[in-house]
Protein backbone atom coordinates (compact mmCIF):
# COMPACT_ATOMS: atom_id res chain seq x y z
CA UNK A 1 0.00 0.00 0.00
CA UNK A 2 1.97 2.97 -1.23
CA UNK A 3 1.62 6.41 0.22
CA UNK A 4 0.02 8.92 -2.12
CA UNK A 5 2.44 11.31 -3.75
CA UNK A 6 2.68 14.74 -2.17
CA UNK A 7 1.96 16.31 -5.55
CA UNK A 8 0.80 14.43 -8.59
CA UNK A 9 0.35 16.16 -11.94
CA UNK A 10 -1.04 14.21 -14.86
CA UNK A 11 -1.03 15.71 -18.35
CA UNK A 12 -1.68 19.15 -16.92
CA UNK A 13 -2.44 21.93 -19.38
CA UNK A 14 -2.86 25.47 -18.06
CA UNK A 15 -4.14 28.48 -19.95
CA UNK A 16 -4.29 32.21 -19.32
CA UNK A 17 -7.21 33.90 -20.98
CA UNK A 18 -7.59 31.06 -23.43
CA UNK A 19 -3.93 30.84 -24.45
CA UNK A 20 -2.24 27.68 -23.21
CA UNK A 21 1.00 28.39 -21.38
CA UNK A 22 1.70 24.95 -19.95
CA UNK A 23 1.28 21.86 -22.09
CA UNK A 24 0.75 18.33 -20.87
CA UNK A 25 3.01 18.33 -17.80
CA UNK A 26 3.22 15.15 -15.76
CA UNK A 27 5.10 14.91 -12.47
CA UNK A 28 5.02 12.88 -9.34
CA UNK A 29 6.66 14.23 -6.21
CA UNK A 30 6.82 11.85 -3.25
CA UNK A 31 6.41 13.12 0.28
CA UNK A 32 9.53 14.50 1.84
CA UNK A 33 11.25 15.24 -1.44
CA UNK A 34 12.66 18.57 -2.51
CA UNK A 35 11.85 19.04 -6.18
CA UNK A 36 12.88 21.91 -8.45
CA UNK A 37 11.18 23.30 -11.52
CA UNK A 38 13.87 25.03 -13.50
CA UNK A 39 13.48 27.24 -16.53
CA UNK A 40 13.65 30.72 -17.90
CA UNK A 41 10.90 33.32 -17.94
CA UNK A 42 7.94 32.14 -19.95
CA UNK A 43 8.69 28.49 -19.29
CA UNK A 44 5.50 28.12 -17.26
CA UNK A 45 7.13 27.01 -14.03
CA UNK A 46 5.49 29.66 -11.82
CA UNK A 47 2.18 29.03 -13.55
CA UNK A 48 2.24 25.42 -12.34
CA UNK A 49 2.59 26.61 -8.75
CA UNK A 50 -0.32 28.97 -9.20
CA UNK A 51 -2.47 26.24 -10.64
CA UNK A 52 -1.75 23.96 -7.69
CA UNK A 53 -2.79 26.65 -5.24
CA UNK A 54 -5.83 27.61 -7.26
CA UNK A 55 -4.69 31.05 -8.32
CA UNK A 56 -4.63 30.02 -11.98
CA UNK A 57 -7.95 28.24 -12.39
CA UNK A 58 -7.94 27.60 -16.15
CA UNK A 59 -6.48 24.12 -16.37
CA UNK A 60 -7.30 20.65 -17.58
CA UNK A 61 -5.77 17.32 -16.71
CA UNK A 62 -5.15 15.62 -13.39
CA UNK A 63 -3.86 17.27 -10.25
CA UNK A 64 -3.85 15.87 -6.74
CA UNK A 65 -2.22 16.90 -3.51
CA UNK A 66 -1.58 14.18 -0.90
CA UNK A 67 -3.94 11.91 -2.79
CA UNK A 68 -6.86 14.34 -2.87
CA UNK A 69 -7.79 15.72 -6.28
CA UNK A 70 -7.55 19.48 -6.53
CA UNK A 71 -10.35 21.86 -7.46
CA UNK A 72 -9.79 24.91 -9.55
CA UNK A 73 -9.82 27.60 -6.87
CA UNK A 74 -8.19 28.22 -3.49
CA UNK A 75 -9.36 25.76 -0.89
CA UNK A 76 -9.59 26.16 2.87
CA UNK A 77 -8.67 22.56 3.47
CA UNK A 78 -5.70 22.81 1.14
CA UNK A 79 -4.45 25.78 3.17
CA UNK A 80 -3.52 23.40 5.97
CA UNK A 81 -1.54 21.06 3.78
CA UNK A 82 0.09 23.28 1.20
CA UNK A 83 1.38 26.84 1.40
CA UNK A 84 3.41 29.13 -0.79
CA UNK A 85 6.39 31.44 -0.33
CA UNK A 86 6.51 34.16 -2.96
CA UNK A 87 9.41 35.70 -4.76
CA UNK A 88 9.23 39.35 -3.96
CA UNK A 89 9.75 40.00 -0.26
CA UNK A 90 8.58 43.56 -0.85
CA UNK A 91 5.29 42.57 -2.42
CA UNK A 92 4.27 39.55 -0.42
CA UNK A 93 3.61 41.29 2.88
CA UNK A 94 0.66 43.64 3.40
CA UNK A 95 2.20 47.08 3.84
CA UNK A 96 -0.14 48.10 6.66
CA UNK A 97 0.04 44.99 8.79
CA UNK A 98 2.62 44.31 11.42
CA UNK A 99 4.54 41.05 11.50
CA UNK A 100 2.44 39.92 14.43
CA UNK A 101 -0.86 40.52 12.64
CA UNK A 102 0.49 38.88 9.52
CA UNK A 103 1.45 35.72 11.37
CA UNK A 104 -1.64 35.59 13.56
CA UNK A 105 -4.04 35.90 10.65
CA UNK A 106 -3.91 32.33 9.34
CA UNK A 107 -4.57 31.12 12.86
CA UNK A 108 -7.53 33.46 13.17
CA UNK A 109 -8.95 32.28 9.85
CA UNK A 110 -8.88 28.66 10.95
CA UNK A 111 -9.88 29.30 14.53
CA UNK A 112 -6.66 28.00 16.05
CA UNK A 113 -6.03 29.15 19.60
CA UNK A 114 -2.84 29.97 21.42
CA UNK A 115 -1.88 32.60 18.88
CA UNK A 116 0.50 34.50 21.05
CA UNK A 117 2.68 31.50 21.82
CA UNK A 118 2.60 30.18 18.29
CA UNK A 119 3.66 33.52 16.81
CA UNK A 120 6.54 33.74 19.26
CA UNK A 121 7.66 30.20 18.51
CA UNK A 122 7.52 30.70 14.77
CA UNK A 123 9.56 33.89 14.92
CA UNK A 124 12.22 31.99 16.80
CA UNK A 125 12.07 29.10 14.36
CA UNK A 126 12.84 31.37 11.41
CA UNK A 127 15.61 33.15 13.24
CA UNK A 128 13.89 36.48 13.87
CA UNK A 129 14.36 38.19 17.19
CA UNK A 130 11.21 39.03 19.19
CA UNK A 131 11.86 42.72 18.76
CA UNK A 132 10.73 42.43 15.13
CA UNK A 133 7.32 41.21 16.16
CA UNK A 134 5.42 44.50 15.92
CA UNK A 135 7.34 46.08 13.10
CA UNK A 136 5.79 46.92 9.76
CA UNK A 137 7.22 45.59 6.48
CA UNK A 138 8.92 48.82 5.53
CA UNK A 139 10.91 48.59 8.74
CA UNK A 140 12.39 45.24 7.74
CA UNK A 141 15.18 44.34 5.34
CA UNK A 142 14.62 42.02 2.36
CA UNK A 143 15.98 39.00 4.17
CA UNK A 144 13.86 39.68 7.23
CA UNK A 145 10.74 40.04 5.12
CA UNK A 146 11.42 36.74 3.45
CA UNK A 147 11.78 35.11 6.84
CA UNK A 148 8.40 36.51 7.78
CA UNK A 149 6.97 35.14 4.55
CA UNK A 150 8.37 31.70 5.37
CA UNK A 151 7.04 31.94 8.92
CA UNK A 152 3.63 32.88 7.62
CA UNK A 153 3.61 29.93 5.27
CA UNK A 154 4.45 27.58 8.13
CA UNK A 155 1.90 28.89 10.63
CA UNK A 156 -0.72 26.37 9.52
CA UNK A 157 1.80 23.54 9.71
CA UNK A 158 1.54 22.46 6.09
CA UNK A 159 3.32 19.39 4.82
CA UNK A 160 4.12 20.91 1.46
CA UNK A 161 5.74 24.23 0.67
CA UNK A 162 5.66 25.76 -2.79
CA UNK A 163 8.54 28.17 -3.20
CA UNK A 164 8.42 30.63 -6.09
CA UNK A 165 11.96 31.93 -6.58
CA UNK A 166 12.31 32.56 -2.84
CA UNK A 167 15.80 34.03 -3.00
CA UNK A 168 15.98 35.67 -6.43
CA UNK A 169 15.39 39.14 -5.06
CA UNK A 170 17.92 38.79 -2.24
CA UNK A 171 21.60 39.61 -1.96
CA UNK A 172 24.03 36.71 -2.07
CA UNK A 173 24.85 36.86 1.62
CA UNK A 174 21.21 37.02 2.61
CA UNK A 175 20.37 34.25 0.15
CA UNK A 176 22.78 31.96 1.91
CA UNK A 177 21.00 32.53 5.23
CA UNK A 178 17.56 31.91 3.76
CA UNK A 179 18.72 28.78 1.92
CA UNK A 180 20.20 27.43 5.14
CA UNK A 181 16.94 28.19 6.92
CA UNK A 182 14.89 26.40 4.28
CA UNK A 183 17.13 23.36 4.45
CA UNK A 184 16.94 23.27 8.23
CA UNK A 185 13.16 23.63 8.33
CA UNK A 186 12.72 20.85 5.83
CA UNK A 187 14.89 18.55 7.85
CA UNK A 188 13.18 19.40 11.14
CA UNK A 189 9.60 19.19 9.89
CA UNK A 190 9.87 16.61 7.12
CA UNK A 191 8.47 19.02 4.56
CA UNK A 192 8.06 18.50 0.85
CA UNK A 193 9.36 21.34 -1.30
CA UNK A 194 8.41 22.28 -4.83
CA UNK A 195 10.89 24.99 -5.72
CA UNK A 196 10.68 27.16 -8.82
CA UNK A 197 13.88 28.89 -9.83
CA UNK A 198 16.14 29.81 -12.69
CA UNK A 199 19.22 29.57 -10.49
CA UNK A 200 20.85 26.17 -10.90
CA UNK A 201 23.35 26.34 -8.03
CA UNK A 202 20.45 26.90 -5.63
CA UNK A 203 18.91 23.71 -6.94
CA UNK A 204 22.18 21.91 -6.35
CA UNK A 205 22.15 23.00 -2.73
CA UNK A 206 18.53 22.51 -1.83
CA UNK A 207 16.93 19.86 -4.02
CA UNK A 208 16.86 16.14 -4.70
CA UNK A 209 15.34 16.06 -8.17
CA UNK A 210 14.60 18.62 -10.85
CA UNK A 211 12.59 19.16 -14.02
CA UNK A 212 13.79 21.47 -16.76
CA UNK A 213 10.99 23.37 -18.47
CA UNK A 214 10.87 25.29 -21.68
CA UNK A 215 7.92 27.02 -23.37
CA UNK A 216 5.48 25.27 -21.09
CA UNK A 217 6.77 21.75 -21.53
CA UNK A 218 9.04 19.52 -19.49
CA UNK A 219 12.26 18.94 -21.31
CA UNK A 220 13.94 16.65 -18.83
CA UNK A 221 13.47 15.24 -15.34
CA UNK A 222 16.73 14.38 -13.64
CA UNK A 223 18.27 13.65 -10.33
CA UNK A 224 20.25 16.56 -8.93
CA UNK A 225 23.39 14.44 -9.03
CA UNK A 226 23.22 14.78 -12.82
CA UNK A 227 23.26 18.53 -12.38
CA UNK A 228 26.17 18.44 -10.00
CA UNK A 229 28.25 16.29 -12.26
CA UNK A 230 27.24 18.21 -15.36
CA UNK A 231 25.70 15.18 -17.00
CA UNK A 232 22.25 16.42 -17.96
CA UNK A 233 21.09 14.68 -21.10
CA UNK A 234 18.90 17.07 -23.10
CA UNK A 235 20.62 19.76 -25.23
CA UNK A 236 18.48 22.58 -23.78
CA UNK A 237 19.35 21.48 -20.26
CA UNK A 238 23.01 21.53 -21.15
CA UNK A 239 22.59 25.01 -22.65
CA UNK A 240 21.06 26.28 -19.43
CA UNK A 241 23.79 24.59 -17.46
CA UNK A 242 26.50 26.24 -19.51
CA UNK A 243 24.85 29.66 -19.43
CA UNK A 244 24.65 29.41 -15.65
CA UNK A 245 28.39 29.05 -15.50
CA UNK A 246 28.61 25.30 -15.25
CA UNK A 247 31.81 23.86 -16.62
CA UNK A 248 31.10 21.27 -19.28
CA UNK A 249 31.78 17.72 -18.27
CA UNK A 250 31.17 14.58 -20.17
CA UNK A 251 29.11 11.66 -18.96
Amino acid sequence: MTKPAAIELDDLTIAYGGTPVVHGVSLSIPEGESFALVGESGSGKSTILRAITGLAPEWTGGMSVLGKPRGHGPDRALARTCQMVFQDPFGSLHPRKSVDTCLAEPLAIHGISGRDARVKDMLAAVGLDQRFRFRFPHQLSGGQRQRVAIARALMLEPKILLLDEPTSALDVSVQAEILNLLKKLRREQGLTYLLVTHNLPVVAFLCDRMAVMRHGRIVEIADVSALKSGTLSEPYSRELYAASGGLPQHA
Binding site: P74, A79, M84, L93, F134, Q139, R152
Partner: protein, 301 residues
Protein backbone atom coordinates in the same frame (compact mmCIF):
# COMPACT_ATOMS: atom_id res chain seq x y z
CA UNK B 1 7.74 64.43 26.88
CA UNK B 2 10.86 63.28 25.12
CA UNK B 3 10.45 59.92 26.82
CA UNK B 4 7.00 59.56 25.31
CA UNK B 5 8.28 60.59 21.90
CA UNK B 6 11.11 58.11 22.08
CA UNK B 7 8.62 55.41 23.03
CA UNK B 8 6.45 56.31 20.06
CA UNK B 9 9.19 56.29 17.43
CA UNK B 10 10.92 53.23 18.82
CA UNK B 11 12.02 50.99 15.98
CA UNK B 12 11.05 47.83 17.79
CA UNK B 13 7.67 48.33 19.38
CA UNK B 14 6.85 45.82 22.07
CA UNK B 15 3.11 45.73 21.54
CA UNK B 16 0.44 46.29 18.94
CA UNK B 17 -0.66 49.44 20.73
CA UNK B 18 2.78 50.93 20.67
CA UNK B 19 3.20 50.16 16.97
CA UNK B 20 -0.12 51.72 15.98
CA UNK B 21 0.34 54.78 18.16
CA UNK B 22 3.80 55.17 16.73
CA UNK B 23 2.44 55.17 13.21
CA UNK B 24 -0.24 57.70 14.09
CA UNK B 25 2.38 59.89 15.73
CA UNK B 26 4.60 59.83 12.66
CA UNK B 27 1.71 60.89 10.45
CA UNK B 28 0.84 63.66 12.88
CA UNK B 29 4.43 64.92 13.02
CA UNK B 30 4.72 64.89 9.22
CA UNK B 31 1.50 66.86 8.95
CA UNK B 32 2.77 69.46 11.39
CA UNK B 33 5.76 70.07 9.17
CA UNK B 34 3.51 71.42 6.43
CA UNK B 35 2.55 75.03 7.24
CA UNK B 36 -0.50 75.09 4.96
CA UNK B 37 -1.82 71.92 6.48
CA UNK B 38 -1.42 73.46 9.91
CA UNK B 39 -3.36 76.53 8.81
CA UNK B 40 -6.09 74.33 7.39
CA UNK B 41 -6.19 72.29 10.53
CA UNK B 42 -6.50 75.40 12.68
CA UNK B 43 -9.39 76.70 10.59
CA UNK B 44 -11.23 73.41 10.92
CA UNK B 45 -10.48 73.33 14.62
CA UNK B 46 -11.90 76.85 14.90
CA UNK B 47 -15.01 75.69 13.05
CA UNK B 48 -15.49 72.81 15.46
CA UNK B 49 -14.93 74.99 18.51
CA UNK B 50 -17.36 77.57 17.20
CA UNK B 51 -19.93 74.90 16.64
CA UNK B 52 -19.55 73.35 20.07
CA UNK B 53 -19.33 76.56 22.05
CA UNK B 54 -21.72 78.63 19.96
CA UNK B 55 -23.92 79.64 22.88
CA UNK B 56 -20.83 80.94 24.68
CA UNK B 57 -19.20 82.64 21.71
CA UNK B 58 -22.16 84.28 20.06
CA UNK B 59 -23.07 87.58 21.73
CA UNK B 60 -26.69 87.56 20.59
CA UNK B 61 -29.34 85.01 19.78
CA UNK B 62 -29.20 83.93 16.16
CA UNK B 63 -32.92 84.19 15.70
CA UNK B 64 -33.76 87.08 17.94
CA UNK B 65 -35.14 89.92 15.85
CA UNK B 66 -34.55 93.56 16.62
CA UNK B 67 -36.43 95.58 14.07
CA UNK B 68 -35.06 98.89 15.38
CA UNK B 69 -31.59 97.81 14.36
CA UNK B 70 -32.23 96.55 10.89
CA UNK B 71 -29.37 96.55 8.38
CA UNK B 72 -26.83 98.13 10.68
CA UNK B 73 -23.33 98.12 9.18
CA UNK B 74 -20.46 96.33 10.99
CA UNK B 75 -19.66 98.14 14.23
CA UNK B 76 -18.40 97.54 17.72
CA UNK B 77 -21.79 96.34 18.88
CA UNK B 78 -22.41 94.12 15.87
CA UNK B 79 -19.14 92.87 14.44
CA UNK B 80 -20.68 91.78 11.21
CA UNK B 81 -23.65 94.06 11.18
CA UNK B 82 -27.29 93.03 11.23
CA UNK B 83 -29.58 91.64 8.60
CA UNK B 84 -33.00 92.77 7.40
CA UNK B 85 -34.71 91.51 10.56
CA UNK B 86 -32.18 93.06 12.91
CA UNK B 87 -30.52 89.76 13.74
CA UNK B 88 -26.80 89.89 14.53
CA UNK B 89 -24.99 88.40 11.59
CA UNK B 90 -21.95 87.37 13.59
CA UNK B 91 -24.09 85.29 15.94
CA UNK B 92 -25.86 83.75 12.99
CA UNK B 93 -22.54 82.88 11.37
CA UNK B 94 -21.33 81.26 14.59
CA UNK B 95 -24.48 79.18 14.98
CA UNK B 96 -24.38 78.48 11.28
CA UNK B 97 -21.10 76.69 11.88
CA UNK B 98 -23.12 73.95 13.58
CA UNK B 99 -25.25 73.45 10.53
CA UNK B 100 -22.25 73.47 8.21
CA UNK B 101 -20.43 70.96 10.37
CA UNK B 102 -23.49 68.76 10.60
CA UNK B 103 -24.00 68.70 6.86
CA UNK B 104 -20.37 68.06 6.07
CA UNK B 105 -19.97 65.30 8.65
CA UNK B 106 -23.19 63.50 7.80
CA UNK B 107 -22.48 63.58 4.08
CA UNK B 108 -18.98 62.21 4.66
CA UNK B 109 -20.23 59.53 7.02
CA UNK B 110 -22.88 58.35 4.57
CA UNK B 111 -21.16 58.65 1.23
CA UNK B 112 -17.55 57.71 1.97
CA UNK B 113 -18.10 54.23 3.43
CA UNK B 114 -20.74 53.50 0.82
CA UNK B 115 -18.44 54.52 -2.02
CA UNK B 116 -15.49 52.70 -0.49
CA UNK B 117 -17.29 49.42 -0.13
CA UNK B 118 -18.88 49.52 -3.55
CA UNK B 119 -15.60 50.43 -5.18
CA UNK B 120 -13.61 47.81 -3.30
CA UNK B 121 -16.09 45.03 -4.04
CA UNK B 122 -16.26 46.06 -7.66
CA UNK B 123 -12.49 46.20 -8.05
CA UNK B 124 -11.83 42.98 -6.17
CA UNK B 125 -14.27 40.73 -7.96
CA UNK B 126 -14.04 42.18 -11.43
CA UNK B 127 -16.11 40.58 -14.16
CA UNK B 128 -19.87 41.07 -14.06
CA UNK B 129 -19.91 42.39 -10.52
CA UNK B 130 -17.57 45.12 -11.63
CA UNK B 131 -19.54 45.96 -14.71
CA UNK B 132 -22.88 46.15 -12.93
CA UNK B 133 -21.59 48.17 -10.00
CA UNK B 134 -19.64 50.55 -12.17
CA UNK B 135 -22.62 50.93 -14.45
CA UNK B 136 -24.68 52.05 -11.48
CA UNK B 137 -21.85 54.31 -10.39
CA UNK B 138 -21.62 55.83 -13.83
CA UNK B 139 -25.33 56.58 -13.84
CA UNK B 140 -25.03 58.53 -10.61
CA UNK B 141 -21.78 60.13 -11.70
CA UNK B 142 -23.29 61.45 -14.88
CA UNK B 143 -26.00 63.34 -13.06
CA UNK B 144 -25.21 66.95 -12.30
CA UNK B 145 -24.90 67.19 -8.54
CA UNK B 146 -26.99 70.23 -7.88
CA UNK B 147 -29.79 69.20 -10.20
CA UNK B 148 -30.03 65.74 -8.71
CA UNK B 149 -30.04 67.25 -5.26
CA UNK B 150 -32.76 69.63 -6.42
CA UNK B 151 -34.84 66.81 -7.80
CA UNK B 152 -34.43 64.81 -4.63
CA UNK B 153 -35.32 67.67 -2.37
CA UNK B 154 -38.22 68.55 -4.61
CA UNK B 155 -39.50 65.02 -4.22
CA UNK B 156 -38.96 64.73 -0.48
CA UNK B 157 -39.45 68.33 0.50
CA UNK B 158 -36.98 70.94 1.70
CA UNK B 159 -35.05 70.61 4.93
CA UNK B 160 -31.58 69.82 6.20
CA UNK B 161 -31.98 66.05 6.41
CA UNK B 162 -33.12 65.76 2.82
CA UNK B 163 -30.38 68.11 1.66
CA UNK B 164 -27.84 65.86 3.37
CA UNK B 165 -29.21 62.72 1.74
CA UNK B 166 -29.38 64.44 -1.63
CA UNK B 167 -25.74 65.55 -1.48
CA UNK B 168 -24.57 62.19 -0.20
CA UNK B 169 -26.23 60.41 -3.10
CA UNK B 170 -24.26 62.47 -5.58
CA UNK B 171 -20.99 62.29 -3.66
CA UNK B 172 -20.43 58.54 -3.29
CA UNK B 173 -19.71 57.67 -6.96
CA UNK B 174 -16.39 59.52 -6.95
CA UNK B 175 -15.22 57.56 -3.91
CA UNK B 176 -16.32 54.33 -5.50
CA UNK B 177 -14.22 55.10 -8.56
CA UNK B 178 -11.18 55.90 -6.50
CA UNK B 179 -11.54 52.82 -4.33
CA UNK B 180 -11.98 50.63 -7.38
CA UNK B 181 -8.90 52.03 -9.09
CA UNK B 182 -6.82 51.51 -5.97
CA UNK B 183 -8.14 48.00 -5.46
CA UNK B 184 -7.26 47.03 -9.00
CA UNK B 185 -3.66 48.09 -8.52
CA UNK B 186 -3.08 45.57 -5.78
CA UNK B 187 -5.72 42.91 -6.17
CA UNK B 188 -3.29 40.64 -8.02
CA UNK B 189 -0.43 41.35 -5.69
CA UNK B 190 1.25 38.63 -3.72
CA UNK B 191 0.09 39.68 -0.30
CA UNK B 192 -3.52 39.34 -1.38
CA UNK B 193 -2.74 35.98 -2.98
CA UNK B 194 -1.05 34.89 0.24
CA UNK B 195 -4.07 35.61 2.41
CA UNK B 196 -6.41 33.93 -0.08
CA UNK B 197 -4.18 30.88 0.06
CA UNK B 198 -4.62 30.81 3.79
CA UNK B 199 -8.31 30.20 3.18
CA UNK B 200 -9.61 33.69 3.80
CA UNK B 201 -13.09 34.41 2.54
CA UNK B 202 -13.65 37.27 0.13
CA UNK B 203 -15.33 39.24 2.93
CA UNK B 204 -12.29 38.97 5.13
CA UNK B 205 -9.94 39.90 2.31
CA UNK B 206 -11.97 42.97 1.41
CA UNK B 207 -12.62 44.17 4.95
CA UNK B 208 -9.22 43.45 6.47
CA UNK B 209 -6.86 43.83 3.56
CA UNK B 210 -8.35 45.83 0.72
CA UNK B 211 -10.23 48.55 2.60
CA UNK B 212 -7.29 49.64 4.79
CA UNK B 213 -5.26 50.27 1.66
CA UNK B 214 -8.01 52.27 -0.02
CA UNK B 215 -8.71 54.27 3.10
CA UNK B 216 -5.90 56.81 2.73
CA UNK B 217 -6.82 58.04 -0.70
CA UNK B 218 -10.48 58.12 0.28
CA UNK B 219 -9.73 60.21 3.37
CA UNK B 220 -7.78 62.68 1.25
CA UNK B 221 -10.50 62.86 -1.37
CA UNK B 222 -13.25 63.33 1.20
CA UNK B 223 -11.37 66.17 2.87
CA UNK B 224 -10.81 67.88 -0.43
CA UNK B 225 -14.45 67.36 -1.33
CA UNK B 226 -15.68 69.03 1.83
CA UNK B 227 -15.30 72.39 0.16
CA UNK B 228 -17.53 71.28 -2.67
CA UNK B 229 -20.05 69.82 -0.27
CA UNK B 230 -20.25 73.07 1.64
CA UNK B 231 -20.78 74.94 -1.58
CA UNK B 232 -23.46 72.53 -2.76
CA UNK B 233 -25.24 72.81 0.56
CA UNK B 234 -24.94 76.57 0.33
CA UNK B 235 -26.32 76.39 -3.17
CA UNK B 236 -29.30 74.40 -1.97
CA UNK B 237 -29.76 76.82 0.87
CA UNK B 238 -29.49 79.69 -1.58
CA UNK B 239 -32.34 78.17 -3.55
CA UNK B 240 -34.36 77.77 -0.40
CA UNK B 241 -34.15 74.00 -0.47
CA UNK B 242 -31.79 73.29 2.38
CA UNK B 243 -32.14 74.55 5.87
CA UNK B 244 -35.35 76.44 6.27
CA UNK B 245 -35.67 79.89 7.93
CA UNK B 246 -35.01 80.94 10.61
CA UNK B 247 -32.07 78.51 10.75
CA UNK B 248 -28.84 80.43 10.16
CA UNK B 249 -27.50 78.33 7.29
CA UNK B 250 -24.80 80.27 5.48
CA UNK B 251 -26.10 79.69 1.98
CA UNK B 252 -29.59 80.79 2.89
CA UNK B 253 -28.14 83.88 4.50
CA UNK B 254 -26.39 84.79 1.27
CA UNK B 255 -29.58 84.26 -0.63
CA UNK B 256 -31.52 86.70 1.49
CA UNK B 257 -28.66 89.15 1.39
CA UNK B 258 -28.88 89.24 -2.37
CA UNK B 259 -31.58 91.85 -2.17
CA UNK B 260 -29.37 94.27 -0.30
CA UNK B 261 -26.08 93.50 -1.90
CA UNK B 262 -25.42 96.98 -3.28
CA UNK B 263 -26.09 99.11 -0.23
CA UNK B 264 -25.82 96.68 2.63
CA UNK B 265 -23.08 94.44 1.29
CA UNK B 266 -22.32 92.83 4.65
CA UNK B 267 -25.49 90.82 4.84
CA UNK B 268 -24.49 88.57 1.96
CA UNK B 269 -20.72 88.94 2.15
CA UNK B 270 -20.07 87.91 5.75
CA UNK B 271 -21.50 84.42 5.45
CA UNK B 272 -19.73 84.28 2.08
CA UNK B 273 -16.39 84.90 3.80
CA UNK B 274 -17.18 82.15 6.26
CA UNK B 275 -17.85 79.69 3.46
CA UNK B 276 -14.65 80.65 1.64
CA UNK B 277 -12.56 80.37 4.78
CA UNK B 278 -13.87 76.96 5.77
CA UNK B 279 -13.58 75.58 2.23
CA UNK B 280 -10.02 76.81 2.05
CA UNK B 281 -9.29 75.21 5.38
CA UNK B 282 -10.52 71.84 4.14
CA UNK B 283 -8.52 72.18 0.92
CA UNK B 284 -5.29 72.95 2.76
CA UNK B 285 -5.82 70.13 5.19
CA UNK B 286 -6.69 67.72 2.39
CA UNK B 287 -3.56 68.65 0.45
CA UNK B 288 -1.47 68.18 3.53
CA UNK B 289 -3.04 64.81 4.22
CA UNK B 290 -2.40 63.71 0.68
CA UNK B 291 1.27 64.58 0.91
CA UNK B 292 1.54 62.64 4.12
CA UNK B 293 -0.57 59.61 3.27
CA UNK B 294 0.35 59.20 -0.38
CA UNK B 295 2.22 55.90 -0.68
CA UNK B 296 4.47 57.36 -3.37
CA UNK B 297 6.05 59.53 -0.73
CA UNK B 298 7.24 56.38 0.90
CA UNK B 299 5.47 54.32 3.52
CA UNK B 300 7.37 56.16 6.15
CA UNK B 301 4.48 55.77 8.48
Amino acid sequence: MSGLRAWLIDDSPASRLQANLGRAYRIWAALLRNPLAVVGGLIIAALIIMAIFAPVIAPYSPIGQDLDNRLVPPSAAHWMGTDELGRDIYSRVVYGARITLLIVTMVAVISAPLGLVIGAVSGYFGGWTDRVLMGVTDIFLSMPKLILALAFVAALGPGIENAIIAIAITAWPAYARIARAETITFRDSEFIAAVRLQGASATRVILNHVLPLCASSTIVRVTLDMAGIILTAAGLGFLGLGAQPPLPEWGAMISRGRNFILDQWWVATMPGFAIILVSLGFCFLGDGLRDVLDPKHGDRQ
